[in-house]
């Protein structure tokens, strides 16, 4: 029989964790509830999670000549309708997919062979090279943003997918994470592959990569989350062409400087943007934790 006795330590630990969870979840709650409410509801802060859902007038519908009767709609529908119509949100989402997928694929193509060399090949200067990788982990993006922008501008690559993708294809974090995982792969496995007739690249793609799937998934989540949510870099290199906008830039559509901000549609957009990430993380959660704890080979 186990007795669940009151433990002040456990209780305190849980209180701290609950406090942390509230701090993390509160902005999500605000985002969600704001996306459900009319501007009156948002300003007055009434109506609970879903808001009162009183009928509001769809201004764009009226502008197109609809009668007031036809143009009355619920705030929830109005916000999400505006999110997809006021800005080409589908286009932005597609750009987001193109950019994050390209970055991840290219990062993998570079990080996996580099990590294999750093973990398993013996060559002069290997430890120094790995030291440089660790050093690169310490450099903040913002410190090198300006030189990067200038180089892209000189090459005439600003306002292009290349500007969004190229600066990120070498990931020090990816190389580091994969290298740590490859260190745990037994040398015999690589020697066996050599005896079986594989060259070094065949070993990388046919032996190392399949055994490293959990680590790669963990890296995928880090990479995709970082670049899907990135507002800073696209804002710098995309100065004109709205067809290249990534989802976070879509939020700017509802920043109506003079008229005040349209928080309802803006938060609806934000909700649409984060949903794919939340779903993907929930699906990959178990593999993700496997990958971070590096227990793939057992």
């Amino acid at each position: 029989m186990t007795h669940h006795r009151f433990s002040s330590r456990q209780t305190l630990a849980h209180l701290v964790l609950i406090f942390g969870a509230v701090i993390v979840l509160l902005p999500f709650y605000v985002m969600l509830t704001t996306s459900f409410k009319s501007s009156v509801g948002i300003a007055s802060g009434t109506g609970g999670l879903f808001g009162a859902q009183e009928l509001v007038l769809d201004q764009s519908c009226v502008n197109l000549g609809g009668s007031e009767q036809d143009c009355l709609t619920r705030p929830l529908i109005d916000n999400y309708h505006q999110a997809f119509t006021a800005a080409p949100l589908w286009r932005y989402l597609l750009n987001g997919v193109i950019v994050t997928a390209s970055i991840f694929v290219l990062q993998t193509l570079i990080a996996v062979p580099a990590a294999y060399a750093l973990a398993k090949l013996r060559f002069w200067g290997r430890d120094a090279a790995f030291g440089l990788v660790l050093f690169c982990l310490l450099i903040p993006v913002h410190a090198i943003a300006l030189p990067l922008y200038l180089m892209l501008a000189k090459l005439g690559l600003t306002n292009s997918y290349a500007a969004l993708i190229l600066p990120w294809i070498v990931s020090a974090f990816g190389i580091f994470l994969m290298r740590q995982f490859f260190m745990t792969v037994p040398d015999d496995l690589i020697d066996a592959a050599r005896m079986d007739g594989m060259g070094e690249f065949a070993i990388i793609w046919r032996v190392m990569l399949p055994t490293a799937i959990p680590a790669l998934l963990a890296f995928a989540i880090f990479s995709v989350v970082a670049h899907w949510n990135d507002y800073f870099w696209p804002r710098i290199v995309l100065t004109g062409d709205r067809n290249l906008f990534t989802p976070p830039l879509g939020l700017r559509e509802f920043k109506g400087d003079l008229d005040g901000d349209f928080y309802g549609p803006m938060m609806a957009t934000a909700t649409v943007i984060v949903t794919p990430l939340v779903v993907a993380f929930l699906l990959a959660q178990r593999r993700f934790i496997d990958g971070i704890t590096l227990t793939g080979m057992k």
Binding site: D191, R194, M195, D196, G197, M198, G199, P210
Partner: protein, 380 residues
């Protein structure tokens, strides 16, 4: 199938010489064991032969052709590893097929997705599947072909590793302590299977082990290595009966050979703590005598040595008796038939004589040196 020659192979890691000029000729179809204590360089030698390691100097030839510049993949050798080294993400069938797909299919035909639809790919893949099935049937693992290595026992993984080595019919098999991760019973069983495989395939086997029993039971010839040097290469019988070096004598055989510290007097007579042994030194001064436990016999009087019974080990088929002999640092072991059981008591005094033909002498450097019978001279 081919001969294997190692010529003056040297290898140093940093400042340490791991191999100090090893030369070895292995005949076509021979089962040769490289045996020695851990750290003696036997695995390094095998890895140099395989092409996984580069020698500091010396040449490796297979079938008379030097192969020093060739990658491991191009040497046409197959290797079985101690840890089996199976690909964890592939099924048993895919594991066994890897050496064949890597060699028989072109790069494009191996590509996932489109590879299987390229011309010629289909029939080649069927050929490979047939070969894999034949190998699996021969090794009794045909029912496991769809499993992943993680779902297999140690013995089954071992068979898959052997299967992967034998499908491509290499010119020689290299086995690096393949049985050391198995339990005792399985080890004895696989020992017999691997020796049979060698006879059935008629291929050259180079087998690395630290277990002298494995080497003795399986090999045509054994090469004993210590500290980066070959001490002796010969048949199991030759190594057991006529060891060339005291370290070989001590390494081969279980229970170990009895080493008796002796001295050679001015007349050349060999004495064991003052007492005559009945042997005379040939050319060199003899410092140690080696006698196998079964070459010692109980006698009525003290012909070679006497001691008190310390321990009696009954193995059923044999009786090993350990004696404390004054002046000999380690207990002397002798082997008796089980029928002698009743007559022995711990603490009892026993006199021993030796089968004279089976006593070996070693000089100060530990090398075997000739012994002469002393009777003739003793009466002069």
């Amino acid at each position: 199938m081919a001969t294997v020659q190692l010529h003056k192979i040297k290898k140093s890691f940093g400042g340490t010489d791991v191999l100090k000029g090893v030369s070895l000729d292995i005949a076509d179809g021979e089962f040769l064991s490289l045996v020695g204590p851990s750290g003696c360089g036997k695995s390094t030698l095998l890895r140099i032969l395989a092409g996984l390691e580069t020698q500091s100097s010396g040449t490796v030839s297979i079938g008379g052709r030097p192969i020093d510049g060739l990658r491991a993949a191009d040497r046409d050798l197959a290797m079985v590893f101690q840890s089996y080294a199976l690909y964890p993400h592939l099924t048993v069938a895919e594991n066994i097929a890897v050496p064949l797909t890597m060699r028989r299919l072109s790069g494009a035909q191996r590509l996932p997705g489109i590879g299987p639809f390229l011309p010629g790919s289909r029939s080649l893949r069927q050929e490979i599947a047939t070969t894999v099935r034949e190998a699996a049937e021969m090794l009794d693992i045909a029912h496991l072909l769809d499993r992943k290595p993680g779902q297999l026992s140690g013995g089954q993984r071992q068979r898959v590793a052997v299967g992967r080595a034998l499908v491509r019919e290499p010119s020689a098999f290299l086995l690096d302590e393949p049985l050391s991760n198995l339990d005792a019973k399985m080890r004895v069983h696989m020992r017999a299977e691997i020796a049979q495989l060698n006879r059935r395939l008629g291929a050259t086997f180079v087998y690395v082990t630290h277990d002298q029993a494995e080497a003795m039971t399986m090999s045509d010839r054994i090469a004993v290595m210590m500290e980066g040097e070959l001490l002796q290469v010969g048949t199991p019988d030759a190594l057991y009966d006529r060891p060339a070096d005291i370290r070989v004598a001590q390494f081969i055989g279980s229970p170990a050979i009895n080493i008796l510290p002796v001295e050679t007097d001015d007349t050349g007579m060999i004495r064991l703590y003052g007492a005559q042994t009945g042997f005379r030194a040939g050319r060199a001064q003899i410092e140690h005598l080696g006698v196998r436990p079964e070459a010692l016999l109980p006698c009525d009087d003290n012909e070679l040595l006497s001691g008190r019974v310390r321990l009696i080990e009954n193995l059923g088929s044999d009786l090993f008796v350990q004696l404390d002999v004054p002046g000999v640092p380690r207990p002397v072991t002798l082997r008796l038939p089980p029928s002698a059981r009743g007559r022995l008591r711990p603490g009892e005094l026993m006199h021993l004589c030796a089968d004279r033909a089976r006593v070996v002498g070693f000089d100060a450097s530990g090398k075997a040196a000739p012994l002469l019978r002393a009777e003739v001279c003793a009466h002069v």
